[in-house]
Amino acid sequence: AQKVTQAQTEISVVEKEDVTLDCVYETRDTTYYLFWYKQPPSGELVFLIRRNSFDEQNEISGRYSWNFQKSTSSFNFTITASQVVDSAVYFCALSPQNVKTSYDKVIFGPGTSLSVIP
């Protein structure tokens, strides 16, 4: 089965706090890609990061960091020193790579709604 679980439906934090959004995925494919997208109130999905299954190195981009652990099938996202502009729904997504197909079907999790309170 191909599935993405984001157990946290809603999170509220006070500005400047750190927050981690959890993502757990399931796939039988050995090659796959993981993504995080941000969906602000305006509705447009904004791409944040893509990571392939062979690269478990953690990544940091400004206040954002991602922790990929293949052993636990998790790809968690941390925002450091949160800001009000970080308020949005965040989606984790999985793209299994099947050599028999030639495209990247993306399976989205249900999303985590983050509210950053001033």
Partner: protein, 116 residues
């Protein structure tokens, strides 16, 4: 540069009517995807085009839904005999799809469809 655009941004229709939703992908992107996002949920895949052909339409819920991309650029999602359950945000995405490669999908702002 210009991103993915979708028109209309909002569409209100009555049950049983026919609607068309349009997507203009990023220039040069060969792959185009349609998703449907219901309230409080993540986007669900509907159909994927590589060029002019529908490479995978397994996500279309039934035969009332159809999509075309006649010239390999703009795509239209068509819904016949709309039902209240079709109400959702319809998202379009495009990617620069090369042979054997994985490319990130970039999303448009969506069309919010409300069927009364």
């Amino acid at each position: 540069g210009a991103g993915v655009s979708q028109t209309p941004s909002n569409k209100v229709t009555e049950k049983g009517k026919y609607v068309e939703l349009r997507c203009d992908p990023i220039s040069g992107h060969t792959a185009l995807y349609w998703y449907r996002q219901s309230l409080g949920q993540g986007p669900e895949f509907l159909i994927y085009f590589q060029g002019t052909g529908a490479a995978d339409d397994s996500g279309l819920p039934n035969d009332r839904f159809f999509a075309v991309r006649p010239e390999g650029s703009v795509s239209t999602l068509k819904i016949q005999r709309t039902e209240r359950g079709d109400s959702a945000v319809y998202l379009c995405a495009s990617s620069l799809k090369g042979p054997g490669g994985v490319e990130t999908q970039y999303f448009g702002p969506g069309t919010r469809l409300l069927v009364l």
